[in-house]
Subunit: 205 residues, 2 copies
DNA sequence: GGTATATTGTGACAATTTTCACAATTTAAA
DNA sequence: TTTAAATTGTGAAAATTGTCACAATATACC
């Protein structure tokens, strides 16, 4: 029903509103959010209406009410457990990242085929891929991050899905094939950077 | 004129086509690209038409012709120099990443305020931020990656723009304010993961 | 050479998304 | 208490994006 564009906008609102709140505001007008996010004021209002957040005519919206609604929308009241495949450069960055906790996201385990990485102490335990079924089952994990090299991404992906994973954030530059019930988000850092390069050289001058 | 959705699809095609080429194919049909990328065959054909790539009725498209057209579209004939701000977890991953070279992208320098990082040997030299004007000027850099903590992102951003940067890939969870002529791409890893969690728990069962 | 078949290329259409514009309503001020 | 000003909420219009369906045409096969 809700488009992913909508979902994405909600997260953008949350970011700006958290910031405005830290700065000391308690209420906002739609045009203020618009200025902060680059999303038009009318669309902000439509989104808030869809979220069932009510504003006061002439008084604006309460930041906390919006934030609660967004957090509630994303089900931040439960802890979301995630596993990681590939404890390389990207994998380590993810595992070291402290901010996931604020979102109630917890990386419970990582998998890597390199035995050296399994022995080393990171913020999360590193297992061989064979442990995947056990771990996913034990912690009731739904979501995985794939940060293995491109050539093994599909294999790892298949395996994760076999263990019951239903959502994947994928860093490997491949178009993974997955069954319908699995949601995939591809983070294409190369493509992203290439787009920036493209658009910044096309811009005036 | 061209939407960013279109530009993004081109990069998706490139990924799949490179793969199909490696596998030994030389020609493709629109429905093959569709199957590989999840983009509908009709839209693939429209995109290729817009790219001015001609297919043969009943014969399909030549992979190399498409790849050349896409590469040409993105101006891959020149080397694109990029600087990085923030040599932390993400910054190191970016700098270590070998694949950028294939896209003719070169990270020429990094900036970090930590003197320890400046002394250490990485694949690219690390300078204090003060060196920014010199470096950007010397290497004629247009594009930057921001991988500093959120609270210093806006400052770093302003500084980069002052030095002449016109495109930014930003990892910090803030809505940066930039002048119109600067193109920004926000890589919101937290949001991305949150969306995966959201969509994967909403999917049937 | 003729016919059947497969695939492109595209105009018309459908759906979705966003903007526009303004009535409804609240608040502040006079 | 009245009036003026500000802002939401939302239907209608516009814009954008993608799908459908099929004519055009190239190829393969008989
Ligand atoms: N680093 C970047 O900036 C960057 C940018 C764009 C894309 N990527 C992509 O992200 C992915 C990860 O990149 P990286 O730089 O962290 O790579 P990396 O080589 O540093 O790490 C990969 C890790 O995966 C492990 N691994 C390999 N095969 C495995 C398997 N079958 N099962 C489990 N673990 C396995 C390796 O032992 C290694 O620890 C790659 O696909 C890369 O193309 C990375
Ligand atoms: N690591 C992740 O998985 C992850 C996920 C989502 C978002 N992010 C965001 O990406 C950014 C980088 O994350 P990270 O994990 O690499 O952080 P990090 O703390 O590992 O690295 C930040 C680096 O920036 C440097 N720095 C700080 N202030 C600076 C300044 N003013 N000028 C120049 N350099 C400065 C620090 O010395 C450090 O080396 C952060 O904004 C973070 O919120 C990271």
């Amino acid at each position: 029903m809700e488009s992913t564009a909508y979902t994405k906008r909600l997260l953008t609102y949350r970011l700006s509103l958290s910031h405005l709140k830290e700065v000391g505001l308690t209420d906002v007008f739609s045009y203020l959010i618009a200025g902060e996010t680059g999303i038009s004021a009318a669309l902000v209002r439509k989104d808030l209406a869809q979220l069932k957040v009510k504003g006061k005519r002439r008084g604006g919206y309460e930041i906390d009410v919006i934030l609660d609604a967004i957090n509630n929308y994303f089900g931040d009241n439960t802890i979301n457990r995630v596993v990681l495949a590939g404890m390389g450069n990207i994998g380590r960055a993810i595992v070291n990242y402290k901010n996931f906790e604020n979102r109630r996201i917890k990386i419970v385990a990582a998998f890597d085929l390199d035995p050296a990485k399994q022995r080393k102490k990171y913020d999360v335990p590193v297992y061989p891929m064979e442990k995947c079924p056990d771990i996913v089952d034990k912690y009731r994990v739904n979501v995985a991050v794939i940060a293995v090299p491109a050539f093994s991404a599909q294999t790892v992906c298949d395996r994760l899905i076999q263990c019951g994973i239903r959502g994947i954030m994928n860093f490997a530059p491949v178009n993974l094939k997955v069954p319908d019930h699995v949601y995939i988000s591809n983070v294409r850092l190369c493509d992203e950077l290439q787009q920036v390069i493209y658009h910044s050289t096309k811009t005036n001058q």
